[in-house]
Amino acid sequence: MITVKFSASLRDLTGDDKEIEVEAPTVRKLISLLDERYPGIGDRLSEATSVAINGEILPDALYEAIPDGAEVHFLATIAGG
Amino acid sequence: MSRTHVNCEINGDHVDFLSESGASLLNALRDDVGLMGVKEGCGTGDCGACSILMDDRVTCACLIFAPEAEGRTIVTIEGLAAADELHPLQQCFLEGAALQCGVCTPGFLLAAKALLDNNPTPTETEVRYALAGNLCRCTGYDKIIRAVLEAADILAANAATNGDAK
């Protein structure tokens, strides 16, 4: 089981859920599962989003494996200057 | 379209070129003489990136009409080093990391040379004010000032041993 925490920007899709626990071995599967539960979130999470898995921020993480017990956040991708 | 034939000395050589009326010396040096080390940062005399020495005075080439160079002695960055040895200012800039992007560096080196030619033992404040006409956005000036002071020490030591200030 992994824990996904939602930022406030996703609240219009996730309602009162601030976090949920799901089974998902990869980011791709996770997004697909979330989109079933919160329709429309799939597109939102694919746009310029990085994923933090256990604190490590990964841009372009769609195929990334998620270890069991991990904590996952979706973040806006940061551009530098 | 009439052009003016200009004769001058650049980096020790007699050079002549044809200048458009209204062209600046900056444009003439880059486009007609082919010396690309003189940089345009603003074209209006506010940044000092185009600093050259004209008759031993540091000057913004963008503020001089090209025909005004007639009969003058000009030094650009290309004329600072000797054939086989850098000028102490250049060496100190390299060793002191006094440049990052380097686009302001030619202007600073010539302005610093003009300072040290006139005032061989400047204080930090004197260096800062002498170089206040040269903008740098990368370094915050700290390492530039240190490099100029270091070069001043080296030039003074050389002069003491050689009896030759340049």
Partner: protein
């Protein structure tokens, strides 16, 4: 000065950490280095751009006949010469980028390009650009977020409905999007506080201020391909964006990176490049296109002006209990301000249990903003670090002690979501607290201020090639434009890895045909990410060198070690083989010695900084002299200390300019009043003291040498540090940037 945390068993390095002369330095001090405007090709034409004089207007017609008829004019382009990406159903961002390059139906800011010309001389090109007749229907304009968000404000984009608002709006506005960060219970948090303060702040657009204007040379062939020589922060990115705008495949363009005369984020996007290529295809000749300084100010990408409202609560013993932030950032003509990053960085330094942060991206009739060093973070830090200082004064507690009490550490859940790994924020606070500067008394008539800052730093895509020449010298080839001295660090990595003198390593930044893909130079990523692939190349080569030595000695590879630049047989029975020895005989042992590695590098380590300033304040003129400035920043590991210090000092001085003088000043008609270095006043040498640097090293556990990016964080605290010094020196709190002498004098005069 360096304060280093040595992990147990940390190696000491021979080259990494030394102050070698950078390999590209000689060309820069002799004027040989080629910047964007320095390339001259045979048959080259000069370009010029026609720009809108209006802040907001419909384009009724564009008549290019007079320009095209001029002797010496070889090409004129308008938006009709670029593909209509809206019609092609392209992504919105690409459509906006294309419209930024050349206006199609509307101009959205003074300076918006409408046409471009290529001619045999600069003078003819400018005359032709001026001879293009554009009929406009001026429209009302908006310049600030307040104007843009007002009821009934003229709308820039008819289809812009604010994203991130629930329920979704049905009428267009100038608010492109809203982003929210939230945690805990705000009401409870403020109820728990002993002191609550509410403040409003405004900032103005400021420009990165690079000394080199944008410049490029495009050389198109009759085969549908073109070469592009351009100074930029990322030639692969320039290639992709230019290609998209032209409707080309990226591989039709070969982009060669010029030396870049400063970027700071402002050269991570395109302005001239598609124009130059399109002019070149039309003219059948190379075209050079260079901006004048006024064009740089009017028509490139400053960073946002802003309006921020911050409310924060603290207990009497210094615990921050709650923070509420509302902010609106100017995006300029198209959406995309750094308000999102501002929301993420706003309180990232601290553990605040209850917060609500709301940020709006707002369009207005000014140039589209571009990245500027830690984009978004310096703006919000001005507000947050100022209000924290006011709270410190209210509870009479030292500003460093308060920050220490609330500091984010390893394991803290960051305000933007994930837990922090090992970070060095506390170490920067302690470095300032223990510094001689901080322990020295504040002189009479001076004010002293402290502030802190954070930036994520990023990793990303990099490719490098390393090869060993027959003489044993090494070439390191990368694709990351060098904006801070990174070539010096790449050389040091190779020297350290191989165990050879750094003078035997040369570096080169290759073009898009020669090296594999690289992300932009920005986000403080190059020493980390490009460094890592360089290190990977060296390590792969070392394995190969051991194999070659084993073949030479006819032994097993496990019997061979690489020590101090040589292959050594474990038994000591063989004469060691140097890099030169092995390279000279490479054909016998498997062919030339060359390796390319690429990676999407992860594991960037966040960077923190704490800064301290003493201002000598003249209360008769409002002029503040920066008497002393100390910055402490966590670099993880300083690969080349001089260039790390240089990044720290450069960021600080940009922040000093931002604090005191720099601002875009617009007239009421929407035109820019100060598009020159005379009136847009950046710091000069006589404004400043030496900038004292304390390089803190808390190694990043995810990098072979512990590197954290250093390029950006330094610009985040200075404005607040200075505002705090002004309050502590005068009792006047300025909440609007810039805190110029005339504004401070006004505040001082109204003090009693």
């Amino acid at each position: 000065m360096t304060m280093t945390e040595e992990p147990t068993g940390a190696p000491s390095y021979k080259w990494v950490g030394s102050r070698s002369v950078r390999p590209d330095g000689l060309d820069k001090v002799t004027g040989k280095a080629q910047f964007g405007a320095d390339l001259k090709l045979p048959n080259m034409l000069e370009g010029a751009v026609t720009r809108s004089p209006h802040a907001h207007a419909k384009i009724i017609s564009i008549d290019t006949t007079a320009a095209e008829a001029m002797a010496g004019v070889h090409a004129v382009v308008t938006a009709a010469d670029l593909p209509d990406l809206a019609e092609a159903g392209a992504k919105t961002d690409d459509i906006f980028m294309s419209e930024k390059i050349l206006a199609r139906s509307k101009v959205l800011w003074e300076g918006h390009p409408v046409a471009a010309v290529a001619a045999t001389s600069r003078e003819i090109a400018r005359a032709a650009a001026a001879a293009i007749v554009v009929e406009y229907e001026p429209l009302p304009h908006v310049l600030t977020v307040t104007e843009a968000l007002a009821d009934g404000a003229p709308v820039l984009h008819e289809s812009m409905m604010t994203r991130g608002v629930d329920p979704a709006p049905e009428t267009a506005s100038n608010a492109a999007s809203r982003a929210v960060h939230e945690r805990g219970d705000l009401d409870k948090g403020f109820a728990d506080a002993d002191v609550v303060l509410e403040r409003e702040y405004t900032t103005k657009p400021v420009h990165q201020g690079y000394i080199e204007p944008h410049a490029c040379v495009a050389d198109a062939g009759q085969d549908g391909r073109a070469n592009l020589f351009v100074s930029s922060q990322g030639h692969f990115s320039m290639r992709a964006m230019t290609a998209t705008t032209l409707g080309w495949d990226p591989s039709q363009l070969n982009v060669t990176p010029a030396e870049i005369g400063g970027g700071f984020g402002g050269k991570t996007t395109i302005y001239l490049e598609p124009l130059a290529v399109r002019l070149s295809t039309k003219a059948g000749r190379p075209v050079r296109l260079v901006m004048g300084r006024d064009e740089v100010f009017k028509a490139t990408g400053p960073t946002s002006g802003s309006h921020m409202k911050i409310k924060m609560g603290i207990t009497n013993d210094g615990q921050i209990t709650a923070a509420q932030i509302w902010m609106a950032f100017e995006a300029g003509a198209f959406p995309g301000s750094p308000v999102g990053a501002a929301g993420m960085t706003a309180i990232a330094c601290y553990t605040v249990p209850n917060f609500f942060i709301e940020g709006f991206d707002v369009v207005c009739n000014k140039p589209k903003v571009a990245a500027y060093r830690a984009p978004g973070a310096p703006i919000i830090a001005y507000g947050v670090e100022s209000i924290i200082d006011e709270l410190c004064l209210a509870i009479d507690m030292d500003p460093i002690d308060v920050r220490l009490k609330n500091a984010a550490v390893e394991g803290t859940q960051a305000s933007y979501g994930p837990e922090f790994p090992r970070i060095g924020f506390v170490e920067t606070l302690e470095a300032i607290r223990d510094s001689e500067h901080y322990r020295s008394p504040v002189p009479e008539g001076y004010g002293r201020g402290v502030a802190s800052g954070f930036w994520f730093n990023i990793g990303g895509n990099s490719t490098a090639t390393v090869h060993v020449n027959e003489d044993g010298n090494v070439n390191v080839i990368t694709g990351s434009p060098d904006i801070g001295g990174s070539r010096a660090s790449m050389a040091l990595f190779a020297a350290e890895e191989f165990g050879i003198d750094v003078g035997r390593v040369s570096t080169k930044i290759a073009d898009t045909q020669t090296i594999g893909f690289n992300d932009v130079t920005g986000g403080s990523r190059v020493t980390l990410a490009t460094g890592k692939v360089v290190i990977d190349c060296c390590r792969t080569i070392k394995q190969d060198l051991r194999r070659r030595a084993a073949k030479t000695w006819d032994c097993e590879i496990d019997d061979v070690e690489w020590v101090e630049g040589q292959a050594q047989h474990a038994s000591g029975t063989e004469t060691p083989l140097s890099l030169a020895d092995l390279a000279a005989k490479a054909s016998r042992t498997g062919g030339p010695i060359s390796v390319t590695q690429s990676d999407n590098v992860r594991g960037a380590g966040a960077g923190f900084t704490t800064q301290l300033v003493d201002l000598e304040i003249d209360d008769e003129t409002g002029v503040c002299r920066v008497a002393r400035y100390t910055t402490a920043q966590d670099a993880g590991k300083a690969i080349h200390p001089s260039y790390v210090e240089g990044q720290m000092q450069g960021g600080v001085v940009q922040g000093i300019g931002w604090a005191f003088n720099e601002e875009y000043i617009h007239r009421t008609d929407g035109t820019l009043d100060n598009p020159s270095f005379l009136d847009y006043r950046i710091p000069v040498a006589s404004d400043l003291p030496m900038i004292e640097t304390i390089v803190v090293e808390v190694p990043n556990p995810n990098h072979p040498y512990g590197v954290r990016g250093v390029g950006e964080a330094g610009i985040v605290p200075p404005m607040a540090a200075i505002g705090n010094a002004i309050e502590r020196g005068t009792g006047c709190r300025l909440n609007d940037l810039p805190m110029s002498p005339i504004r401070l004098l006004d505040a001082i005069n109204h003090r009693h």
